[in-house]
Subunit: 239 residues, 2 copies
DNA sequence: GAGTGGTCTAGACCACGCA
DNA sequence: GCGTGGTCTAGACCACTCT
């Protein structure tokens, strides 16, 4: 009793171990984990305990279980990464695949808003990406991404950038995005918006502000999207 | 093996049984279920199987487990129902509690858009509720609700309507809302919007269209909210 | 101390994928 | 037919709440 103020179930410890292996790339995306039995023996716990730990990882979409085959580290394919967080769709729900046109990629010192949103320190550098995203060959989103350079050391030298950045985050930098906090509001189109999107100044746009959260809880992307929702809608399911 | 094309695990059958008890109000909101052991004996399965079935119910927020005490049918208090689905908050995430002013409640025949959205039949009746919702004494949302009369027989005679309709749905009609599909877009304020909200015609508003889904999968509410997001934002966490 | 949910085990058996 | 994940059991013990 005394000496252990915080009770920590066995399966939690197994969970932490598994997360560690994945985040340190001991097991890499699309590779199989050892079987549940093998892990149970290695960690000296029962198969049920390993299973319970894995249940949480499945829920967080960090691993995939395939009955009869094995358990694999989930891979963020372009397709999967896109549809997980890109919410623009046709009214009714049919998902649309966007393409993206890169406008600019710049490295610079972080500004105070960015320092605050991303939990950086003064003097830290960031990479700013401006893109226009098209659906059905129509420009519908003008997007500004801010990435801490420390998490993505040479990202400003990679061209072209893929459509789904998060797949690249995982592949090239070992950064797994597990969730994103979004704040939406309606706003009038500015002159800058009108330069990138076929809208009139003053037209209503949907602004999406996103902070993406990595596996270790750190905030690794700040994104501001200005969306023309005259043809598309932003779809969410609350539960 | 033949004769059973669809494999149906035991815990699924237990799950179905529990859902049935709750949806038929055999166990009512805030009341305790029988203990896991008691249910296991009654249903002739092991405690672990009952537990696994209940895990799903916890995830769907239909029951609450309290260690040392028991398992209870989740109760949609005003507070809980509100914060579960009402997403307007201050920038940064601090939740705001809205109040509501009732503008009108009318019973009428369903229109074709409503028939389609709610899966009704021609000639079915609906109740239409118009409300203005205030945050910090400021009108920020103008809202139109469409409810099938068949699900809520005398709802047009209840006054005043509570702030959180879903708590009343559960309490008075046994209807549990488990999820909601929302479609958001930016739109310019119309003359009607300007009558209810302190905004200029043409100002950008956030429109939220929601279909609420009940425990049995049926769509029981269609809601259109027009929101002034000059002070507040719509907050979601994607995961 | 009695009763409830929560964890953990060891072992059996089922469903599935593949060679 | 073997190996993997998926289900199910019976029983032990732990943590928590209330009396």
């Amino acid at each position: 009793m005394e000496g252990s103020p915080h009770y920590r179930p066995l399966y939690r410890q197994v969970y932490d171990f598994l997360v560690k292996q994945i985040s340190e790339s001991v097991w890499r995306p699309s590779e199989p984990l050892p079987s549940e039995q093998a892990l149970a023996e290695q960690l000296k716990v029962s198969q049920g305990t390993v299973r319970k730990a894995m249940d949480a990882l499945v829920a967080e979409r960090l691993i995939d279980r395939r009955q009869g085959k094995g358990t694999y580290v989930a891979e963020q394919t372009q397709e999967r990464a896109l549809f997980r967080f890109f919410r623009l769709a046709e009214p009714g729900g049919a998902r649309k695949t966007p393409t993206s046109t890169e406008e600019s990629v710049k490295r610079r010192a972080a500004r105070s808003a960015e320092i605050q949103k991303l939990g950086l320190s003064k003097g830290d550098q960031v990479v700013e990406i401006l893109r226009t995203r098209l659906v059905d060959e129509r420009a519908v989103v003008f997007e500004r991404n801010i990435l801490p350079l420390r998490n993505f050391p040479d990202i400003d030298r990679k061209r072209p950038l893929p459509n789904a950045l998060y797949a690249m985050f995982q592949q090239d930098y070992g950064v797994n995005i597990v969730s994103a906090e979004e704040e939406l509001r309606a706003d009038a189109a500015t002159a800058e918006d009108a330069r990138y999107l076929p809208v009139e100044i003053g037209a209503p746009l949907l602004q999406i502000e996103r902070v993406a959260i990595a596996l270790d809880g750190s905030r690794v992307e700040w994104r501001l999207s200005r969306c023309d929702t005259s043809q598309l809608i932003y779809a969410v399911t609350l539960s």
